[in-house]
Symmetry: D2
Subunit: 330 residues, 4 copies
């Protein structure tokens, strides 16, 4: 029985991850940490998660060789802890953005900091199991994908190399913005409204580009939803050899041995995947325009963060990929 | 044409009030002030209000004798400005709680401060036009009612003296909590949930008691709504001489010359009054239990704050009570 | 391994119940039925539940002696099927209202039909495990409580006999109104509004009265929430010997061996129990007024319907009460 | 003072239109009709509109020569009434889709009926005042635009001829689907979810194509909002001579004498235009990708239907374009 420590367990993603590990049939929940809420039980901070364990001040010294650790910190704050944990012999899933981009030169422009350990960017594996399952199993450091890239990539991966002119119009629930109260997440700002933000300059764009192998136009929107993320993707076929029927088949083959991606016939809504690790994807072809739309929907805190981290931990520990993740379905 | 200055115009209630004055056929909008947002046009801070005027740092010196001023400050912060404005010869509607309670001894225990001008508590008129219309017309200082008391009092006033054992279970939209971002108003806290708060100890309780002339049990709830406030009131008749039909008639008579209170046959929902100065009230009798329920519903930012302030300003200026307030209906 | 058949599995409660049984470690899902949707797989009708099994036309003949059956029909439509299932030797949880009231004379006035089998009303056990756990274990027919009575009773039961003048002001999510599309559940009716309905005449009132042993005033409200039900209850102590501290202790003792009722210190919100079988209750005393408020919150489709039915089935089958119900927590 | 009759006044758009005419300073509200609700006052059917007038069964005979009429019927049901009203000498705004497409051959494939009066399709003027203001003023028949085309066209019109590869990803509030209760508009379906629908086959597509003069890819999404419509449009410049600064200027010039279109610097949200006739548009350029995004946001029942009809009626009657429409702002 392996131990999983959760650093940053009082945020939305970290608390959900701690709850999943706490209920996991094989993993044991190690230390759970939080700066502001140290000393309180997690259930007091986030009553819906019913994790009785106490939050502690972060201390890498509590992690033993061979343990697993998940780091749920804001970007720029995770890199040093991750390096220290690796030095101690732990295997790490970094839920932050600090090891997602392979090119260290992107960090100053995209995330505003010089990466302290560019060597780790070369060894880190991008933790989308549907793309890198075998490498994740062997990795010491897995970079858990961002929520937007997860939905967009799952919607688009079967088309990689076949399409051009990719546009991703994404709609995210508010929990993706984190637990810090700001004007942007005030109920009176969000309810009954939809608004685009960070058009052409959202930090998840280079991450999608890197894994898709193509430059995309990406526009996120905030919608009056707590959990859920829909990526509506548009593209143009390079050749004209494709139609809708074959496309659906292509997707089903691509994901045939991936238990958490459901290829559906009708464009999916958020409701079908909330509180689960499932993604639903749906490709559609406009026969007249030669255009294609591909939709991907996930729960941004689950497949977009916490439960995908568990999926990665399962793979790293040699467990079945679905262990502890099916019961989280409603 | 009288000038109305709005102090604290970058909060939800103050901005709405500035917008109502800006569109008012008779009043002229004077200075509008805000501490944090001074120098920006109001429309930049609150795009939905389309008030082009610039917010200024607060300065009582801008107010001339005979002007009107509305003060939309947090409690404890309004009292001194109000006194200064009165000294300058202005007539004031205090939208804060600082002049609602007649008994100065309540301020330390209820609001946590010693009232600097207890004399003004005796001259201030409680600004519920359905209760004190004549006195408001002559007042130099009107204390605009709280949102909860407005809904509860309108639901209960025709019964004052006839009932005992009054319980007020109220449900308020989130804008009532103000514009400051806190964990309590985070979208992810509020959406898809209803929760009671400050049970038995909400600051609006003594205000309801004072104007109703009876002690009530008051429990507020936060609901996933931006604007709207429903007070569900329960009481017991002192005598048994009442039934439902007579009760509805009693209400219709009581409010017969009050244009903004609509007595309705079915329990009202928030939707019927949103973005308006209307209140809807509905009394119902349980013939078996001898119990009575009376419902009152308002828009907490309108009849519960900004448009009620305009109603008071209209009365103070000798204008028709409804001036500039009917067009705000959808 | 016992078989549980679900009649009426395409409604909100029935589908949730089928999903819980489908994922249950001990029960086997038998036939699942639906009139309109027969022939479709449940997952096609309700994608969020991921139950692959096909819905069939209702047929009591598919139920064998010793099987369990849950009937999720509208009131007045369940009674005959329940009787037939019992005759075939099945043990039944009736999720409808058809066996909740012991007094057959109430059915014509409250539910509008003459009960076909008044004898069964005497043998049916009211399925609130926190009240009748032992009798449920032995019962052949369990009447699963209504959602409002579940929340109100759990909030009030420790006070039975100690208080008078009980008022229940309840707020329910929309899923409680069922899957049939009506004007009342149109998104544009519900969003951003709260409205009382069926004041003094809701069908759940006699059910609360019966189990509490006292006549209550009950007012339901529809709130813009999918799942969740909050009962805010007010009462007056018969004697004056009670205070808040002792009250909380009284509640903790009352529910000490009931795993699904959490006595909390602060008034609970819906979020803490959504998608779970948990109820949270919280009693508070107003020392000045001698008044008491007691809050109870549940997920109306879970503890208010489907998961409470599983809790009852567990008890009837001699299984641990929590079997298959803890994993449904988020 | 001209009379405006409203046919189909019990739907969302028709009731809003009747309320706007009822409060209009110059127009007089003529007959208001409804099939199902005839005999009831409009305020009883839609309490938020406070129109005291009684709904009548539809009767073209009530319309006199020189009167105006607005027809708020479902598509295919308006064409015959419109023709009859024109024959009687009325001037008509058809809020339905029955006269929006100039090509009669599109009606069978797009709307499923053979158009009874193809001649009227040639004389009808497409009622987007920002495009056809002069022709609207002289028209006897104005085809009021669909809600999606209004938002998309306002976002894209300044670019007509300059761009290719136009993709419109639109998000609409639920009121756009009308008042009929269906599973798709059930609160429990809509809340906390976003879903695409009618991908590549929504009926508003040919309408956008016609007025833009280019074929677009159009994907509507339903969002958990009552009123509001955001069109997020993506396109590619034909030449490379454009940048963002010039683009914003281009938009400001294009709309310089159109009072209801606001060109804004940051991507707009729905909140800024709800309950008003305003549209906000915002063009943005990605300098690296040579891609452009243009956003347009409206209230689907106002600028997307009812208040745009009033704007058209104002123009037809020779009134100021804004008459009766500014007061509807909050």
């Amino acid at each position: 029985m392996s131990t999983v420590h959760v650093f940053g367990a009082a945020g939305f993603a970290g608390a959900q991850l701690a709850a999943l590990i706490d209920a996991h049939p094989t993993f044991r929940l190690g230390t759970i940490t939080a700066r502001g809420d140290a000393g309180r039980r997690l259930v007091e901070v986030m009553p819906e998660h019913r994790v009785a364990q106490e939050l502690e001040a972060p201390d890498a010294g509590r992690v033993a060789e061979g343990d697993f650790a998940a780091v749920c910190y804001p970007h720029a704050e995770a890199a040093e802890l991750v390096a220290e944990l690796l030095d101690r012999g732990a295997r790490v899933v970094d839920v932050s953005a600090d090891h997602r981009l392979r090119d260290p030169e992107l960090y100053p422009s995209v995330y505003g900091f010089e990466h302290p350990r560019p060597d780790l960017l070369q060894t880190a594996v991008y933790g989308l199991p549907e793309l890198h399952r075998e490498r994740i199993a062997d990795a010491d450091l897995v970079a858990n994908p961002g929520c937007y890239p997860t939905a967009a990539l799952l919607a688009l991966l079967p088309l990689a190399g076949l399409v051009d002119d990719v546009i991703v119009d994404a709609k995210s629930g508010v929990s993706g913005a984190g637990r810090a109260p700001t004007a942007a997440v005030h109920f009176s700002t969000v309810t009954e409204s939809v608004a685009p933000y960070k058009v052409f300059r959202h930090r998840h764009t280079p991450e999608i580009d890197q894994e898709l192998g193509a430059q995309v136009v990406f526009t996120p929107h905030l919608v009056p939803v707590d959990r859920g993320l829909l990526a509506s993707c548009y593209a143009r076929f390079r050749s004209e050899a494709h139609d809708g029927g074959r496309l659906n088949e292509l997707y089903r083959e691509f994901y045939s041995d991936h238990p958490f991606v459901e290829v559906v016939d009708d464009p999916p809504g958020m409701r079908a995947v909330q509180h689960t690790n499932y993604a639903q994807v749906c490709p559609l072809v406009d026969p007249e325009a030669g255009r294609l739309a591909a939709f991907g929907v996930i729960d941004n805190l689950m497949k977009g963060a916490a439960s995908q981290a568990v999926q990665n931990l399962n793979l790293m520990a040699g467990l079945p990929e679905t262990e502890g993740l099916l019961a989280s379905s409603r």
